[in-house]
């Protein structure tokens, strides 16, 4: 088949949307059409709900959907990470069972990787899966699990071999979250929100057909999930629809977005709210204080250069040029921006920095910044881990000598369920 031209693609999709798009359809009804036709994920293989469309042509599809405000397949939360992982490592049965319901949004998913004893060192997981002859029996605890309380399925990384070296003893499963052996509890953070959960497994059951890829290959599969997490901001990507759009499908989409985005409502505060600084400095009169002005300037320098550094990385990527070191620095830069913003907000608010809720500046928003910023330099990889990655992968510096080689059973660990 000849590759489709941009013009043909646009014509074909336009015609399809004209005869199928209906703002008064139900969300699931419409997304089922998208999934069956391949227009929901056109860059996926045509065999699996896609159209084999080259990635370079995808922007045209996005444009055409946006042009008429057509709703897309479900993309928020970690759905697409699950989908990408199953697409790459799942078998045919798993693909046909899970992928359509991910795209329609009927099923929600969660990612069960981090544990109380393994944060930065994810491969040190000690949640165990033991085969009892018919099923995998799971025991242990996961943490920092977004949306676990309403998830239907979980992507589980568990240890299946304690005699193999650390990375080789892990396996990857899809676990049914609706079962007696799985218990989900909210995890309250220092800023008062509970955006994540702790998930406890007590003899939870996974059927053998829900093992993804082969036993012992779990680390590699988990890397696929994490790679997609880093590559796309999908988890936080939401559609911003005009409020005046009417139709059943928009109402349903708004409800879905609200549910998915609920845990992230304090994320802007965690980044430091640089946007509020000038306004706050002006209304408090602190803009006239030379010391505060210096601190604001330092913040603005950090914020602008971080933004430009990210744009340099993107521009290099778009031109297909080799990405320079600027691509690995964004997360560390964001930590610096958030910390400086927190410092500046404190300088501006003075004693009012002690007050929260209705008593605090901006009805508690400033207080929320001050107690949320510490998350920035921890979540998604601590600054220290980022520095290791930059030093080793970008600057080519040697690794620390390892203490965790040999059978995992013998590696020093945090207290937890015994091997």
């Amino acid at each position: 088949m000849d590759p489709i031209s941009a013009k043909q693609l646009r014509q074909e999709l336009r015609a399809w949307l004209e005869s199928n798009w209906d703002p008064n359809a139900s969300l699931i009804e419409w997304r089922t059409k998208l999934t069956e036709s391949g227009w929901g994920m056109p860059t996926w293989p045509s065999q699996w709900f896609g159209k084999d469309l080259p990635q370079a042509l995808n922007p045209i599809v996005e444009e055409e959907f946006a042009r008429i405000n057509a709703v897309t397949v479900a993309r928020t939360g970690i759905r697409l990470l699950a989908a990408a992982t199953i697409l790459e490592h799942g078998n045919d049965d798993q693909k046909s069972r899970y992928l359509p319901r991910i795209l329609t949004g009927e099923d929600t998913w969660c990612q069960l990787f981090s544990e109380p004893g393994s944060g930065s060192d994810l491969a040190g997981a000690i949640t165990r899966a033991d085969f009892d002859g018919t099923h995998w029996i799971v025991n242990g605890q996961k943490v920092w699990t977004t949306s676990a309380h309403h998830a239907d399925h979980g992507l589980l990384l568990a240890r299946t071999n304690w005699d193999a070296p650390k990375h080789d003893g892990l396996s990857y499963f899809v676990i049914d979250m609706h079962q007696p052996g799985v218990s989900v509890h909210p995890l309250k953070q220092m800023n008062g929100h509970a955006s994540f959960n702790q998930v406890f497994f007590t003899d939870a059951v996974v059927a053998p057909e829900n093992q993804v890829d082969r036993i012992g290959n779990g680390w590699k599969v988990a890397m696929t999930t994490l790679m997609h997490e880093r590559r796309s901001a999908d988890a936080l990507r939401t559609v911003h629809r005009d409020h005046d759009l009417t139709g059943r499908i928009y109402d349903e989409e708004r409800d879905e977005t609200a549910t998915v985005m609920e845990p992230y409502k304090w994320y802007p505060q965690r980044a430091g709210r640089v946007d509020l600084v000038f306004e706050r400095a002006s209304e408090t009169g602190k803009i006239d204080d030379v010391v505060v002005r210096q601190a604001i300037a330092e913040l603005m320098i950090k914020a602008r250069t971080a933004e430009w550094t990210a744009r340099r990385a993107r521009a290099a990527q778009q031109q297909g040029r080799p990405q320079g070191p600027e691509g690995s620095l964004g997360k560390l830069a964001a930590s610096h921006v958030a910390r400086q913003a927190s410092k500046v907000h404190t300088m501006i608010s003075g004693s009012d920095s002690m007050l929260e809720g209705e008593d605090g500046p901006l009805a508690g928003l400033i207080a929320e910044i001050l107690v949320s910023v510490p998350a920035t330099s921890i979540a998604g990889g601590t600054d220290e881990i980022q520095r290791n990655i930059i030093a080793e992968r970008v600057l080519g510096m040697p690794k620390e000598p390892r203490m965790d080689t040999g059978p995992f059973r013998d590696v020093m660990k945090n207290p937890g369920p015994a091997a």
Binding site: F278, I287, V290, R293, Q294, I296, A297, E298, M300, I301, K302, R304, T305, A306, W308, T309, R311, R312, R314, A315, A316, Q319, R321, G324, P325, E326, L329, L332, A333, H336, E384, Q386, R387, N388, I390, A391, E392, V394, L395, G396, M397, P398, K399, E400, P401
Partner: protein, 371 residues
């Protein structure tokens, strides 16, 4: 706004890198910095009349290459990386000043000789320690006769042409700032090379006693032109600084990987690795600002004054931090005269306070964004 370099720009960088690596290894830097002149005439001829670096941002109509400030930034970055000892900054800045203020005929008269490097030129503006703004100009120009003092003048002791900023005192309403041209050997001009921490940048003090000068660009207050020239100087300097800073990051990582203590490369210790990662972050952020400001100068962005201050403050802090960490990671050897790192450490120091220190530029940044 452009966020990557194009092929021609990459080519320009490669040409400059190759030439400078060849002509300005540290052994040459050490030789030339010990001379009074502070440059090698043969290398100057090559980089100007042969390679055209002095012609980079001068329009083609005046014998230049007609490239933009983005390309000039690349050349400056490479000069900073190699620590080239030559009156390049002085001459390039004088060209910027002439391009900003002079009339067509003055440009036709002056720029071709600057573009070819036949004339070494400089820009004399500062007078007082810690004052970098147009309001600090006191040198008096009365009926085109200059009286007063200029300090921290780059290569002022060897310059053939000097563009001097003065306060006009002709009793007119248009009195204010004026740009004047004098010859290096003008009667009444006394030039003295001053002792500097950074011997790779030659600075001089100039004393003017009734020096007859030629006003450039006609009558009228040229304060705005001065401020624009200073902004462009800060951007050029910021680009030069990120080049030096990157060189130090490279040298530091190289040393940390080679140096063995406690039976392992010191670069395998997180204490060292993390410092190196922070140095890389510092230099890349400062580069983003320097590149952005240079591109803004090329496109006449109205935000330019704020961006110039941002780039200069960012580069100053990055370069001085990196230089200090570089010596720290080198340990004892880093504090010896024979080790090359102090050459860039001193360049970082001299650059930090040249054309405005970080405190000054941070205040300017807020001030400029407020208005």
């Amino acid at each position: 706004m452009q966020f990557t370099f194009n092929e021609e720009q990459d080519q320009l960088r490669a040409t400059a890198q190759k030439f400078l690596a060849d002509k300005s290894p540290t052994v040459e830097v050490r030789r030339i910095m010990a001379t009074t002149e502070g440059y090698d005439p043969a290398v100057w001829t090559q980089l100007s009349s042969e390679l055209g670096f002095t012609a980079t941002h001068i329009p083609e109509a005046y014998g230049g290459l007609g490239l933009s400030y983005a390309e000039l930034g690349i050349v400056f970055e490479e000069m900073g990386r190699s620590l080239l000892c030559a009156p390049f900054f002085a001459t390039s800045l004088a060209a910027t000043a002439v391009m900003n203020v002079a009339t067509e005929s003055e440009k036709s008269d002056l720029l071709p000789n600057i573009a070819t490097g036949n004339r070494i030129a400089t820009f004399a503006v500062f007078e007082t320690a810690g004052k970098w703004g147009s309001d600090s100009i006191k040198l008096s120009a009365e009926n085109n006769r200059l009286n007063g003092i200029k300090r921290y003048v780059l290569d002022g002791h060897i310059a053939d042409l000097l563009i001097v900023v003065a306060r006009t005192n002709d009793g007119n309403e248009s009195d204010g700032i004026g740009f004047f041209l004098i010859d290096g050997n003008a009667p009444g001009l006394r030039r003295r090379l001053v002792n500097t921490v950074d011997a790779t940048r030659k600075l001089s003090e100039l004393e003017f006693v009734d020096v007859t000068a030629r006003r450039l660009g006609g009558d009228g207050d040229q304060t705005a032109k001065l401020e624009d020239t200073l902004d462009l100087a800060a951007i050029a300097l910021a680009n030069e600084m990120v080049g030096g800073a990157q060189r130090l990051v490279d040298e530091t990582v190289k040393y940390a990987v080679e140096r063995i203590q406690f039976g392992r490369a010191i670069g395998s210790f997180q204490a060292i690795k993390h410092k190196c990662a922070d140095m890389l972050l510092d230099v890349e952020m400062a580069k983003s600002a320097a590149y952005y400001a240079a591109a803004a100068a090329a496109s006449h962005d109205p935000e330019l004054p704020a961006l110039a201050s941002l780039a200069k403050a960012s580069a100053s802090e990055a370069f001085t931090r990196i230089a200090a960490e570089c010596i720290q990671i080198h340990g004892g050897i880093g504090f010896t005269w024979d080790n090359d790192t102090h050459l860039w450490f001193k360049r970082a120091k001299s650059s930090e306070v040249f054309f405005g220190d970080p405190t000054y530029h941070k205040e300017q940044l807020i001030n400029r964004w407020q208005h």
